[in-house]
Subunit: 230 residues, 2 copies
């Protein structure tokens, strides 16, 4: 017997998230800009947003993960200090951890005594069960940020290819819409599957992902048309 958990590669998950995000905003922007009628403008605006967005996403993810790591280290240091300087208070916190589950003090006392024997274990126990913090792995920070930034770039680039290949902007727009609808549905589905949902939930996710893309594109198109006329 073993639990089936959602332990798919975190890398795959980052790629899916970056890709799905890249499919939405750059597509919406190019769809809106296309209504002005210039392929060159669509490509300029689209690529500018795409590279700015992937830099922001990749670097942003890296910095956020770095902050989490620092936060973990700060809290770990604090727990070490408290285990040294205020052990009775820390012991009391162990009782408080078990109290909501109906486990009596006398029963927990044995656990408390054994945890106290090894201060490093005690600290790790408090990090996990009191603060609910997991130790972030450094190498994964770089990989995660790189994967997310690059997959955002790829996700946004594919719907733009028609504008490079097809001179007529309106035709390019329709091909772009076709490609993007298929990709939004596919990736909405895959995104849900890799987080361990049922097939039914994944189909629902596919249409939700499509809906977000459609709404974003409609807003973008509406704004461009509205301002262009005014």
């Amino acid at each position: 017997h073993h639990e089936k958990h959602t332990e798919h590669g975190a890398v795959v998950r980052d790629a899916i998230i970056g890709f799905a995000d890249g499919l939405t905003v750059p597509f919406a922007l190019t769809a809106g800009l296309s209504s002005i009628g210039s392929s060159k403008l669509v490509i300029i605006g689209g690529l500018a947003e795409l590279f700015a967005g992937s830099i922001s996403m990749g670097l942003g993810a890296y910095l956020a993960a770095l902050t989490e790591k620092k936060h973990y280290e700060v809290e770990e240091e604090r727990e070490r200090r408290e285990v040294e300087e205020m052990p009775e208070a820390e012991e009391e916190e162990i009782y408080e951890i078990f109290q909501p589950y109906g486990v009596k003090r006398e029963t927990v006392r044995g656990v408390v005594e054994e945890l106290k024997e090894d201060k490093e274990s005690w600290v790790r126990f408090m990090m996990q069960f009191e603060l609910n913090l997991v130790k972030p792995k450094v190498s994964r920070l770089y990989i995660s940020a790189l994967v997310m930034g690059l997959s955002y770039l790829l996700g946004g680039l594919i719907p733009m290819i028609p504008y490079f290949a097809i001179p007529n902007v309106t035709k390019a727009l329709f091909v772009s819409i076709g490609i993007t609808v298929v990709m939004l549905l596919s990736f909405g589905y895959v995104k849900a599957i890799v987080t361990g949902t049922t097939r039914k939930a994944a189909v629902w996710s596919a249409f939700q992902t499509l809906a977000v893309g459609v709404l974003a594109a409609a807003a973008s198109y509406g704004i461009v048309r509205g301002i262009d006329k005014a």
Copy 2:
């Protein structure tokens, strides 16, 4: 004695994140587009990206949180089934939870016996300590998504105001840069402070946030100039 944890309002945190993201990509895009020389184009492209981005961000956050909630419910249902049908295996898992912290089996046995008395408590214990999953609150999903989408909108709108107010595109660009540099530094700082870091780390975060904005804007500007000339 009480632990100083990073329990600032989740709403404040969402607002900070949305705002900081909104400051980066829309600003980068408008800075790049400004090099073409038309205020109207900057406003059109900027607003299109802004609304598409805030819709994508807000709705995306909502859908992701909904998926997490569903995931929690699926796992909770599985644990309930396993507690009913395979209690010995679940008991074994409790021993495995404590084993890395050096707590002996005989000591844990008392905890196991008391957890078994109330199946709901037992399930909740496994959710928390085996799967490390926290029950998401529904109301916060809506608020979180709304706050993130709206603060992205606000974050992106403020650097664009000069383009509405100042007819000369280049002048507007410089004012926009000035406003955005100040805001990126401020919000990089505040973003770190609300997650509980030291002042020194917050200053570092301020400059990192600025750096991401500068890099994104430089990429955008470079691309627009490069393609416009080609």
